[in-house]
Amino acid sequence: MNREFYGKVIIEGEIEALTGLHIGAQRDTSEIGGIDNPVIKDPHTGLPYIPGSSLKGRLRSLFEIYVNSKLDELKDQYKGLKNYMKGSCREIGKENCGRFFNRELHNVWIHVCNTYEEARNCPVCRLFGASGKESNFPSRVIVRDAFLTEEWKEKWRKGEEITEAKMEVGIDRITSQANPRTTERVVAGAKFNFEIIYTVEDLNEVEDDLRHLLMSMLLLEDSYLGGSGSRGYGKVKFHIKRIAFKPREFYETGDEGKIKSTKQYKSVQELLNNINDVVSLIKPQGG
């Protein structure tokens, strides 16, 4: 239990859907004459949004895949990784078989370190958290639900369509029968406000953690968010509007003057190139 608290880094900006975006809503609703496969929406306003769980889950899974592929190189730096071999325990069917993807979660295999100490020394779990059976390593990263920007809410109020129905023909793998269904997706161009909060617990790990977080965001830009990514859905881009550091002293005094922020960055890549701007907010010279 050697967690300290130095403050929180808050990354705010917009996520733009460059192609149609489908984050599904329900188990299996087939309303007659309706859309077979709707997108998730706020139950009060009916507006689509991106759940923080989807966004964070995607960032984590892409970073896990990256770490698995570089496992041998990374072992020297992160002693929590020493216990793992590349690959998935899926084939063996036993959790914790020694492979990197070691935990079964609802029939899929993911990576989760089992102990606090392992998680503390694993680049994935120390950033995104690990839930063990009796001890947890809470995530240093919070990813909030991303709601439509004011600009896009306004478009919606004026009657513009925010989602579209797309007809797709699936082929039943057994009967080879064509099975047309409509999938709803958020239209390309739609923008959502995102907010990612990183808790600073260890000054020596801040830069490394933030690099990993930004790298995961870049991996997502080169991949997809939501369903049907292989068919071109869910290409997204992050626009960074503000990065602020709220130090412990801010929470102590409530003095907003203690909050420090950087300039705007056009892209995640530009921010990553200037990561020292952020690190120097947290660790002032000589600190």
Partner: protein, 285 residues
Amino acid sequence: MGKYLAIKMIPKGPIREIPKATTLFGAIANAVREIYGSDETEKFIREFSEKAKISSAFPYLGEEYFLPFPLNAEASLYEIFKGDISKIKEAREKPYIPLDAFEKAIRLQEFTVKDLPYKKVEIPKVSLDRVSQDSSIYFWDAVVFKENGGLYFLYDGPKDIFEKYIVPAMNFLGDHGIGGKRTWGYGLFVPEITEVYIDEPQGNAFVTLSPMYPRNENSLILWKVEKIGGWSWGRRKPKVPMVLEGSVIRDDPGKMIELDLGLPFKVYVNGKAFPVRTEAPGDAL
């Protein structure tokens, strides 16, 4: 007339469930520990135990504050609504009623219920196998608020405890989240301080607005009990039976419970009552 400080938690998204005073106190104590360290936390807990109390969180919509359904009114629904079954049914379905209705209910007078400013929904989460890319969908419960809706809780105690500890803790918790699934942004909020007045009758009984651990079992008049557990600093807390909000009690402040979870510090469960005067039905006393 009871005048209380109220802390509005203006939501930035859903919350896992509406937090009780036990969860709120645990979160506040943890926040105080993060901000000020252990010694100051011990001081806070000592002072809070002696002088202050907080209610559970309840919903609000704009300027309308909701409160839990008092059990004495539930026991007297038939008399309150003069046998009107549809009104009784409608009232019985609501765990929270607006402040003005609460003020009538604690006087055992007829009151009107309202729609609640939140919905409980199931939110899907998809897991993707990192190798095969197989996906699996599962669901989490969440409480989602209407626009202008959210949660608040009441504080009763010295202003210096409020300003030194509660306000910083709420600023911290707004960016940290409260309750489960914080890592997905659940339970994030913007705090706002305001005041709430409750017009209390001259009764000899009380409705508690927080779960309580009675000092004397004989102080219970009408009550519901639930075992309350949870997590603290990555450790599971043993479940403690508590008398729930809305229960009717005699004068009993309740108490803090001290737990040893093998951490370098003690964990405290807030079992202090948040009493509001009420008229108890004669035959219950």
